[in-house]
């Protein structure tokens, strides 16, 4: 699974992109966030409050409850502020 981070999430994690093979029991976006939080102190800080994060699976907006299925790309970012 390709992970993409944007804006403050990218800055906190320290990279804009990385690859992980999630364990079998990671099925939803929320479970992925929980698992990612264990990967480093930076991940833990970046993902400690999932209510303040937004997600996209294969470039479509997703929620914490969305199942990952066979998606290839999970993007994690703060609420958008364009326009």
């Amino acid at each position: 699974m390709k992970l993409l981070y944007f804006a403050s999430v990218r800055e906190t994690v320290g990279v804009s992109s990385e690859e992980f093979a999630f364990p079998q029991d990671v099925r939803s976006v929320a479970e992925a966030i929980d698992w990612l939080s264990g990967q480093s102190d930076e991940h833990a800080v970046a993902f400690h409050d999932p209510s303040k994060l937004r997600f996209a699976l294969d470039q479509n907006m997703a929620t914490a409850g969305t199942l990952i299925g066979d998606a290839n790309e999970l993007a994690i970012f703060p609420p958008v502020t364009g326009g």
């Binding site: 993409l4 944007f6 958008v80």
Partner: protein
């Protein structure tokens, strides 16, 4: 005519509108968002999700076209560093009669604010910078357009 552009270069409303005025409709409506000098901001810096941005903006235009009878719509959005006074975004719509273009323009900018993967960082005169926080008022305006 549906056009989405992500631009590193300055944008101006005129060239965005030109394509819409020649479609035979009687109405062209536009909205331009400009960098404000809020509390000493000198520029903003826009990051986006390159793979997703174009598709997202095009989906907004498709949604507007499905909802209103439009002859065309365009969205152009800056990325990178944009100085105070410069345009960040132009959205515009053309229709036969004015109601459709006016409503579609408001819909496009309201939904862009909450749906499109852009993030703004403000740069200040003292050299500091910070990410802009999303506004709950934007959510309220976006949700006005939910189809009941």
């Amino acid at each position: 005519m549906k056009r989405v552009r992500i631009s590193n270069a300055p944008i101006n409303a005129e060239s965005e509108l030109a394509a819409l005025t020649g479609l035979g409709g009687g109405a062209v409506s536009s909205f331009t968002g400009i960098v404000r000098d809020d509390g000493g901001v000198t520029a903003i810096e826009l990051e986006h999700y390159p793979g997703m941005t174009d598709a997202c903006l095009l989906r907004l235009i498709e949604a507007a076209t499905a909802r209103w009878s439009l002859l065309g719509a365009v969205i152009t959005h800056r990325v990178g560093v944009v100085s105070v006074g410069a345009s960040v975004v132009v959205v515009a719509a053309a229709s036969r009669h004015r109601a459709e273009a006016l409503e579609a323009t408001a819909f496009l900018i309201d939904r862009l604010k909450t749906d499109a993967p852009f993030w703004k960082r403000e740069h200040f005169a003292d050299g500091t910078s910070k990410w802009v926080a999303a506004k709950s008022t934007d959510d309220v305006r976006s949700e006005r357009w939910a189809l009941v």
